[in-house]
């Protein structure tokens, strides 16, 4: 029995998944988290720090870390990289002016050694607002097709209506499970 097998067995027992949710400020990270957890989203303030939620979903224990995206907080992101199974990158589909920033921030994350094994889910948020860029346009603009270091998926969603949130989370859990846990 190799070390990997032991690790897999240990993880399987807990079925615990650690998800790190990042993105530029105003992307809607906290709103996604709260909506997913069924909380009120009308009173959310810009995140000064971070939020952690532990939820049960499909027999998995999800630890979701939502870290503030303001410029002054981004240097702290790396403090949260350790033992991340999945990275959820949230994009503000209205924010055309900073799409370039958004692309660069994601690219530097993907070169991060401690995130090397993580699955990447890109949420193209705010799809409920007319005038939002489609997930297809964002995929192209952010050059996602060329990511070969990580398993990835982009999905349009709306934190306000809840559209596609479950689909996205289900995909990332499935992908992580197929890598980490021995399939039944």
């Amino acid at each position: 029995m190799g070390l990997l097998t032991i690790l897999k067995k240990m993880k399987q027992k807990e079925k615990e998944v650690r998800l790190l949710m990042l993105g530029l400020d105003n992307a809607g990270k906290t709103t996604i988290l709260k909506k997913f957890n069924g909380e009120d989203i009308d009173t959310i303030s810009p995140t000064l720090g971070f939020n952690i939620k532990t939820l049960e979903h499909r027999n998995f224990k999800l630890n979701i870390w939502d870290v503030g995206g303001q410029k002054s907080l981004r240097s702290y992101w790396r403090n949260y990289f350790e033992s991340t199974d999945g990275l959820i990158w949230v994009v503000d589909s209205l924010d055309r002016l900073r799409l370039q920033d958004c692309k660069q921030e994601l690219q530097s994350l993907l070169q991060e050694e401690r995130l090397a094994g993580a699955t990447l889910l890109v949420f193209a948020n705010k799809q409920d607002i007319s005038g939002a860029l489609t997930s297809e346009a964002i995929k192209e603009a952010m050059d996602l097709e060329n990511i070969q270091t990580h398993h990835w998926l982009i999905i349009g969603c709306s934190a306000v209506t809840g559209q596609n949130l479950l689909e996205g989370i289900d995909w990332i859990i499935d992908d992580i499970a197929s890598r980490i846990f021995t399939m039944d």
Partner: protein, 347 residues
Amino acid sequence: MTTMDSSVKLAAPSTLTAIDVEGKWNIVSERLQKREDERLAEIQKKREQKSETAALQESTLFFTTEFNKEKVAIEAGLSECDRVDKANLIDRFDFLSLSLQKMQKFLAESTMFLPPYEVRLAQETISKLQTQIQEKRDELFPKKKFAFKSKKKVASSEKLFAKTLPENVFQEKVEISLTSCKYENLKDRCLEKFEDEINNRDVALARLENCTVKLYGVPSAVNMYKLKNCRVFTGPVSSSIFITECQDCVFVLPCQQLRIHTTVNSQFYIHVTSRAIIEDCSGVKFGPYNWKYPSLDEHYKISGLNRNKNSWNDIDDFNWLASDTHSPNWSLIPEGELVKSWDELIS
């Protein structure tokens, strides 16, 4: 004898006195003369000292002008490096290093008469130039740095780099493709949009100068970028407003979330149902939202904003995390300075 004695005695004092007086006079005049001489010498000395300091100042001036000439020459040489072809580049760098060495020598020779402040300043300049030359050299002749790398990582990051090359092409594309609902690159205008155009849409205002913008409606989100000396009035914005790089503006707006970045000297009359935040701002002032127009009540209903909850006076500054002292970057508009009605000011 006695008389003689006495006369002698008598005479003696008198002659003595005469001699004494003369002697004393001599001594005194001598002393006076000496003092006079000393005084003159002192004056002379002071005069010399004065001219000496003048000379010193002159030579300091001479040093700084010469030194700066050299500095400018090196900087000019550096900035030209990009245009020099590779073959001549090595010579160019050798020449620059030589010039810098000359400067160093010149400084070393001048330290005798330079004030310590000047010496320090000059040393700083030299070391700055040295790093500039070094940086330029590194930039134009990249040295391969030795580092341990795992093979796999090299391969992956190379791939990433290779594929991120056409970035500049993309950047332009992003810059021009703002949302269709917008005002952009305008000056000295009065601009208005109404509900049929802006409701449930995102609105962008970018690079406006001396403009008054009125949005009568319920946009989903508003993004403002590089506004100068503008006045912006909006109806209730159902989600967030994002403001970057504005100056000398007045914003009058209700929304759920408000983020203000890199903005200076501006006033905000706001209704925010969560907490507004500022980052890299200074001189921003806040007051309560007070714009009125006929269908405002109806618009509030559409937006879903809670009219009873307004934290206009509770701002989070991401550059000021101390909770016990107030951030110096923002303040409340004093009661007396609040604009009561906008109708006259903006019509």
